[in-house]
């Protein structure tokens, strides 16, 4: 399995989510969001360490405003966990690695 993080766009979003063989954690982020920058390295680590059980994906909300509207994003960082194409869990705000892993654990 590839450990790489995928960057989703309005064009690729549904295809990637529906084709995924693992749960997909989608991080809605933007360059100007300080807390988003803090969780970026944490997501890199999780992506590398948990490649078999989770796919990490990112949506740049500035470039993909339609996705932000579609999912009602009003605050970032916001992370949505998709399982079998459906939203299984949603999280608003930054958190540390330990907490993020324990928030995700029930769904993996």
């Amino acid at each position: 399995m590839s450990a790489s993080i995928v960057h989703l766009t309005e064009g690729s979003f549904d295809e990637v989510i529906n084709a995924a063989d693992r749960p997909v954690l989608v991080d809605f982020w933007a360059d100007w969001c300080g807390p988003c920058r803090q969780i970026a390295p944490i997501l890199d680590e999780i992506s590398a360490e948990k490649a078999d059980s989770i796919q990490i994906a990112k949506v740049d909300v500035e470039a993909n405003g339609g996705l932000a509207i579609r999912f009602g994003v009003k605050s970032i960082p916001m992370m949505l966990l998709f399982k079998d194409g459906e939203i299984a869990h949603s999280m608003i705000g930054a958190r540390n690695k330990e907490q993020l892993l324990s928030d995700l654990a029930p769904y993996l």
Binding site: A30, W32, G34, P35, C36, V73, S75, N96
Partner: protein, 330 residues
């Protein structure tokens, strides 16, 4: 990133010359000075969290910083703090991304717990620099927690983008309220500044800019009674403090900038606090009432509260700690 760590090794506590708690301009400046003085500091920067700690400090939640000397065209807050952090690491500061759960300043060496507050401390410290800063106050309404991230926001720079073409409100009348209001005016169709007095506390330059901004309107002598909306913000219930008239005003977003409280809960009963909760330092120094414990930045400053004054006091704390350690034969 060799000096990064998110965990600490179990076992016996590690003895350090200097432990720095907090990672805003004060803590990181102290770290730069301490590491250049060969004191091998460890800096505990806190955990990324939207509700309590804010590694990098309050500048992580701002956009352009226009008053930090050396950046004539301004610099983004998170970028400035990334630079501080990198500079501290360059000279060997060890940075721990975790939360201090407990301190014991009753005897030397001081004890600092990271993670569980039971059992052996994580660090024994010959000296400690406290630079835990301050955090934004909320209104204290139940609806705030329910609607946080759903139209109620504590970070205009993170969330303003999502209110393009909508009507938003900013509660407060100081510099940060006006900064948020002007930032939001780039996206929102209107920004209403709700202030409980009939004049602003903000600096003259900010007031001039705000009053000239056509998207901003001001609601004076008004307090927020509640934030209305089930799944997202729909309106604010406001009260005129002179007439007691209550009305509901429709807004899609609400941002709060009503002041700060110092992050001193960890030190209650151990360090002297002022009535307003800020740490007491001795005049023209960073010394607290406990010899060997120094304080810098907003945690001990209820007056200036600037990035540059925080950085300056972080430098003072590092030099005070270094000189004090010398007198201890360290």
């Amino acid at each position: 990133m060799t000096n990064d760590s998110t965990s600490t090794s179990p076992g016996s506590p590690e003895l350090r010359k200097v432990v720095i708690i907090g990672s805003g301009p004060a803590g990181l400046t102290a770290a730069i000075y301490c590491s250049r003085a060969n004191l091998s500091p460890v800096l505990i920067e806190g955990e990324p969290s939207s509700t309590s700690d804010q590694p990098g400090g309050q500048l992580m939640l701002t956009t352009e910083v226009e008053n930090y000397p050396g950046f004539p065209d301004g610099i983004m807050g998170p970028e400035l703090m990334a630079g501080f952090r990198k500079q501290a690491q360059r000279f060997g500061t060890e940075i721990i991304t975790a939360k201090v759960s407990r301190v014991d300043f009753s005897e030397r060496p001081f004890k600092v717990w990271v993670g569980p507050s039971e059992g052996d401390p994580t660090y024994l410290a010959e000296s400690v620099i406290v630079s835990t800063g301050a955090q934004a106050l909320m209104l204290g309404l139940d609806s705030e927690q329910r609607l946080l991230g759903h139209g109620f926001s504590t970070c205009a720079t993170c969330d303003g983008f999502f209110f393009r073409g909508q009507d938003v409100a900013v509660v407060g009348g100081g510099d940060s309220a006006l900064e948020e209001a002007m930032f939001l005016s780039r996206f929102a169709s209107s920004v209403t500044v709700i202030h409980r007095r009939d004049e602003l506390r903000a600096s003259k330059i900010m007031q001039d800019r705000a009053l000239a901004n056509e998207k901003l309107t001001f609601l004076w002598n008004t307090v927020v009674e509640d934030i209305l909306g089930e799944s997202s913000v729909e309106a604010l219930r406001v009260r005129d403090v002179n007439t007691d008239e209550v009305r509901d005003l429709p807004f899609a977003g609400v941002f709060v900038a009503i002041g700060h409280r110092p992050n001193t809960d960890l030190f209650k009963g151990q360090l002297d606090l002022k009535d307003n909760g800020y740490l007491v330092t001795q005049p023209s120094s960073s010394r607290t009432n406990v010899e060997g414990v120094f304080a810098a930045g907003d945690v001990q400053d209820d007056w200036y509260r600037q990035a540059i004054t925080a950085a300056g006091s972080g430098c003072m704390a590092a030099i005070d700690a270094e000189r004090w350690l010398e007198t201890q034969g360290g």
